[in-house]
């Protein structure tokens, strides 16, 4: 009887014993979970993601909880939607339903800013290869430069699942830090005269038919040129088509609200579940965070330099600051451009132009990932 009681008590104390004997990495991750929760709750940094990720991280680092073992709650969520790439794609349906491509359609040339804003992806790929990462891991890390959480998760879960946790946390962290990372680069690369350039007001010139056909045409073009990326572009454009067609308002609202919210919750918890201390705390994690930072900086540099080129070519009609909005972080990057423009001239309204470039960045990041996957397929690497 006493022996049974002692055995029972030892079972209760096993977690604490583990924590003090070999749970060092778990303790560090519990502290990181606390930081993520603090940032999400107190500082409101991407709270919709950091709160579930932080709590998932907390759960998985409590020793012997088995939440990420076969049959565990977090493992179930992971298998249900990340291992098979379902969650990021469902989120894309919601994003598509939220985005108004109107400002981009008013001035289609803004889409090219969305191409320039992807330069960081390819530079980071070279950096990752130089640091010794294998090809597919390097590609997955580079996609952090798309500044697009679902795309990064989609690619990493397929080709570098062992790096999914640091890649997804880095992608979302840097997206949240766009308002801090971008302004110094924008100021360093532009002259005071360039920053006060006023752009002509956008005239409303897009018909509902054009807005309705846009998602179909984009799906066809991307699907034909880069078929491996069709799940990404197809879902985002399906969401947008539901928004624009006007006859499935209930589905469109569900996609952008209920479905996006539920999937974000599950996705966040499952990503947090991959942050188990012994697996997460490696030199590679630090390298991935470093490369993610370089990627976002280089996206901004390339975008602003492209903006300066377009400014020259158009005889000063384009404010180079809008180049910084050619990334996928929507709508943060567009707001950063508006704020920076108004710092130097309160009457300068760049928001609509920046929003066009920003939605271009959204499309551009997906196209860049799709093109990369198709090139990998062409090379026989996937």
């Amino acid at each position: 009887m006493i022996e049974s009681i002692l055995l029972g008590l030892s079972g209760m104390g096993a977690g604490v014993t583990y924590l003090f004997s070999q749970g060092g990495p778990n303790v560090i991750m519990l502290a990181i979970a606390a930081i993520l929760l603090y940032l999400g709750v107190k500082k409101e940094v991407e709270p919709l993601l950091l709160v579930p990720i932080g709590f998932g991280c907390l759960l998985v680092n409590i020793p012997l909880s088995d939440l990420m073992e076969q049959g565990g709650l977090l493992k179930l969520l992971y298998d249900m939607g990340i291992a098979n790439e379902l969650f990021p794609l469902l989120i894309f349906v919601g994003i598509g339903a939220m985005i108004d491509f109107g400002p981009l359609l008013e001035n289609p040339k803004l889409l090219l800013f969305g191409a320039a804003g992807q330069f960081g992806i390819f530079l980071t790929l070279l950096l990752a290869l130089a640091l010794g990462f294998p090809a597919l891991e390097a590609v997955s890390i580079a996609v952090i430069g798309a500044c697009d959480g679902p795309t990064a998760i989609y690619v990493a879960s397929q080709y570098a699942p062992q790096l999914l946790a640091p890649i997804s946390v880095a992608a979302y962290s840097y997206m949240a830090l766009v308002p801090i990372i971008q302004p110094p680069i924008m100021r360093a690369l532009t002259t005071p005269a360039e920053r006060v350039i006023k752009m002509a007001a956008i005239k409303r010139s897009v018909s509902p038919t054009t807005k309705l056909l846009f998602p179909i045409v984009v799906t066809l073009v991307t699907g034909l040129l880069a078929p491996k990326g069709l799940p990404l572009m197809g879902t985002i454009m399906f969401g947008n088509f539901m928004r624009e067609c006007g006859v499935v308002a209930r589905l469109s609202k569900s996609a952008e609200n209920e479905i996006a919210n539920i999937v974000t919750l599950f996705l966040g918890l499952a990503i947090g579940g991959t942050m188990e201390g012994h697996a997460f705390l490696k030199p590679a994690t630090l390298a991935i965070f470093g490369m993610g930072f370089v990627a976002i900086c280089m996206d901004t540099v390339a975008g602003v330099l492209f903006g300066k080129l377009v400014c020259k070519l158009t005889g000063g009609k384009v404010n180079p600051l809008i180049g910084a909005a050619g990334i996928s972080a929507f709508p943060m990057a567009a707001r950063v451009v508006q704020v920076q423009g108004q710092l130097y001239d309160k009457k300068n309204h760049l928001l609509m132009h920046a929003a066009g470039a920003n939605t271009g960045g959204q499309v551009g990041s997906v196209v860049a990932a799709a093109v990369m996957l198709s090139v990998l397929k062409g090379m026989g690497l996937i």
């Binding site: 981009l104 359609l105 289609p108 040339k109 889409l111 090219l112 969305g114 191409a115 992807q118 330069f119 992806i121 390819f122 530079l123 790929l125 070279l126 290869l129 090809a135 390097a138 590609v139 409303r204 010139s205 897009v206 018909s207 509902p208 038919t209 054009t210 056909l213 846009f214 045409v217 984009v218 073009v221 991307t222 040129l225 880069a226 271009g360 499309v363 551009g364 196209v367 860049a368 093109v371 990369m372 198709s374 090139v375 990998l376 090379m379």
Partner: protein, 50 residues
Amino acid sequence: MDKWDFGFTMMIVGMGGTFVTLYVMTLIMELLKKVFPLAEKAANSDKSTS
């Protein structure tokens, strides 16, 4: 394939492919705007109100 061959191939084809794909899309968007101008819709709504 050497890692640098791989890296630079991805960079050139990837960045080039992204630019070309998005450029094709801008042309198609311009075409859509020409084929389905806003004026057509506005004209129709003017007729229905008169």
